[in-house]
Symmetry: C2
Subunit: 323 residues, 2 copies
C-alpha cells in the first residue's frame, strides 16, 4: 500500500495519464474520475478518462471533454490509473490499455481486490465512504486549488456512494470534506442533487411505479419481490439500468427485511438483485445461485427458466429471513 | 434578537421549562425539542415538550418520556420556549400555556415571524438549515456534553429539514455539525435514517404508488398533478400525513417544473401542496387562492368544489411555468 503523497509525486512527474473507472460507471467512479482529470489538466497535463460505454445520462454534466474510447489519444500512456476498482473484470474491454501503461496505479475503496491485477502503486481505503474522498485528498497533495467543477464532481461521488449521507459508510471525514466544498465560491448541493436525481424520464418513472405496484410479498411480508421483464422495458423504451433505483424504494417498506428485484436481460436470462435491511445474509443466498456480493447487498443469475428458479430463490430467501 | 449565549444564561437560571414545537410536528421540530429537553434534564431541570397531537409514528424514537399534553405537569412554567416556529397559529391549542410562561423565549429558523407573538428572548437565523443546528449550538452554550441520544435527535432535525443534505438550505455549518456528531461513541447515520425512512406501512406505500400512477400532466409535462381523496385514504386506512412524501417523488420527473398534490381533508375540503423545481413562483400562485409559502414551496385551499377550483389552479400554474 502506497500513500496518496507517493502517488501524487508520481503523477506530478508524468505528463500523459489515462484514468480507468469501473464498468457500469456510477456517480463515485465518474465523479472521482472527472475531478482527478480536471485537476491534472489544471496542472497542464494530458489526461483522459478511458471508457468503453456510455455514462448514465443523469451524470452528463461530468463529461466535459474528458472521455476517450481510444487510448491513442495520448502518444504514450505514461500512467494508467485504475479508479474506484481493483480488478480486470471491472475495466472490461480496456484491460490491454491499462496494462500498456508504463506506470500502473490503482486507487480504490472497495474491500475486495482481484489479486491478478498488476500495479506499481496501490492505495485502497475500504473505510472511505467514496473514492471521491480519496481523490479529494489526492488533489490536495497535488497542490491543485479545488475549483467549482472539481468540487461538484467530488460531491457527486460522495453523495451518490453514501446514499446522500445516510448509509453506514458515511464518516466524520465524509462530512468534513463536504463542509470544505462549501468554501468554493458558487458551490451548493441543490444544483448537483437536481442534476443527479430530478431528471428521471416519465417512462423510467412509470417503470418504477409498475414494478412497485406489483410487488409480491412472502414470509409474512419480510420478503418483497419485484420483476422487470424485457417486455416491460421494451414497452416503455427503458433499459435495465433504469430499474436500478427500484430496490432502494422497496427497502422503505415497514417489515421488509429482504427486497429482491428480478431482472431479465436482453438475451432473456434473469438475474436477481438482493438487499437486506438489518440482519439477513443475502450474500449467502446469492452464493447458493453462484452469485456473490456483500452481506446486505448481493446478486445472482437465475438462468432462463424463471419459474423454477424463482421458486428456489423464494425458498432460500425465506430461510434467510427466518434465521 | 438575542444571542444563544444570552438564552443559555436564562435557561441555566430556571428549573421548570416547557418546550412548544410547531403543529404538524416534523423531524426538525421534534428532533430539536427532544435534544433540548434531554440536555435540560441532564442539567437536573424539569423539562417537557408540550404537544397537543400525536407525533408521526416514524419519529417515535424521539419520544422518551418528554411529551406532555398538560402544562400542570410543572408546578409553574418558569420558561415557555417556542421552538422551530414564531407564531401563535403554529402552536395552535397551546397558546395559553405558552403565554402563561413567566419568561417567554422563541428560537426559530423560519423567515416569517408573526408579529403578534410575545417573547422576552428571541433568536432566529433564517440562514440556518434547521432549528436543530441552533439547538446544537445552544446545548454547547449550556455546557452539556452531547450524548448519543442528543446526537441522534440533532441529526434527525438536520437530515429531515435538509432533505438529507441535498436542499439549498444546507451550508458548511450543517456538515460541520454533522461531522461533530460522529465524535459521539455509537453515532451513525444509518440507524436513524432507517428509523425515519424505512418504516413506511404497506398501505402508505400503496397510496403513493396509486397517486403516482395517476398523475396528470399539463403544459407539455411542465406541470404534474396528483390527487388524494378521502375515499382513497379511507380505503387504505391512511391519513393525510401519509400523503406528505408524495410530492417529493413527483419532482424527480424530468421536465416537471411544478408538482402539485391536491388533498381532500376529512371535512371534504381540498387543499393543494405546490412545489417548483427551478424557476416558477408557486408562492404567487398560492396567494391567488388565499394561500402562501415560499417561492418554491407553497400551499393553498381550494374549497369544496374541486372541479372548478382545479381548473383555475391549472390555469394559474400554466401561467407560472410559461413565464
Amino acid at each position: 500500500m502506497n500513500s496518496l503523497q507517493q502517488i501524487a509525486s508520481v503523477l506530478k512527474e508524468s505528463d500523459n495519464i489515462l484514468i480507468f473507472p469501473h464498468v457500469n460507471i456510477d456517480g463515485d467512479a465518474f465523479g472521482s474520475s472527472s475531478a482527478l482529470c480536471a485537476a491534472l489538466r489544471l496542472m497542464g497535463k494530458n489526461a483522459y478518462i478511458m471508457m468503453s460505454e456510455d455514462a448514465p445520462s443523469n451524470l452528463d454534466y461530468l463529461e466535459h471533454d474528458y472521455i476517450t474510447r481510444d487510448a491513442s489519444v495520448l502518444e504514450k500512456t505514461e500512467i494508467a490509473l485504475m479508479l474506484d476498482c481493483s480488478g480486470y473484470d471491472r475495466i472490461r474491454g480496456r484491460e490491454e490499455e491499462y496494462k500498456a501503461g508504463r506506470i500502473k496505479i490503482c486507487i480504490d475503496h472497495h474491500a475486495t481486490v482481484n489479486s491478478e491485477i498488476e500495479y506499481d502503486y496501490y492505495h485502497c481505503e475500504p473505510q472511505s465512504a467514496a473514492t471521491a474522498e480519496l481523490v479529494y485528498l489526492l488533489i490536495k497533495e497535488l497542490g491543485v486549488e479545488i475549483n467549482l467543477e472539481i468540487a461538484e464532481s467530488i460531491f457527486t461521488g460522495i453523495t451518490t456512494d453514501t446514499g446522500n449521507f445516510q448509509h453506514s459508510n458515511t464518516t466524520k471525514r465524509t462530512h468534513m470534506i463536504a463542509a470544505e466544498l462549501y468554501d468554493i465560491k458558487g458551490f451548493g448541493s441543490k444544483k448537483i442533487s437536481s442534476l443527479i436525481y430530478d431528471r428521471r424520464s416519465r417512462d423510467e418513472f412509470t417503470l418504477e411505479n409498475i414494478v412497485l405496484s406489483n410487488l409480491t410479498f412472502y414470509a409474512d411480508g419480510k420478503i418483497a419481490v419485484g420483476t422487470v421483464t424485457q417486455d416491460l422495458l421494451d414497452t416503455l423504451g427503458c433499459n435495465l439500468s433504469h430499474a436500478d433505483p427500484i430496490i432502494q424504494r422497496v427497502m422503505s417498506i415497514n417489515g421488509v427485511e429482504i427486497g429482491a428485484i428480478i431482472k431479465q436481460n436482453p438475451e432473456g436470462f434473469f438475474k436477481a438483485s438482493l438487499r437486506a435491511k438489518s440482519y439477513a445474509n443475502v450474500a449467502e443466498v446469492a452464493a447458493q445461485f453462484g452469485g456473490g456480493g456483500h452481506v446486505r447487498a448481493a446478486g445472482c443469475n437465475l438462468g432462463e427458466n424463471i419459474g423454477e428458479a424463482k421458486f428456489k430463490l423464494i425458498d432460500a430467501l425465506t430461510k434467510a429471513v427466518n434465521v
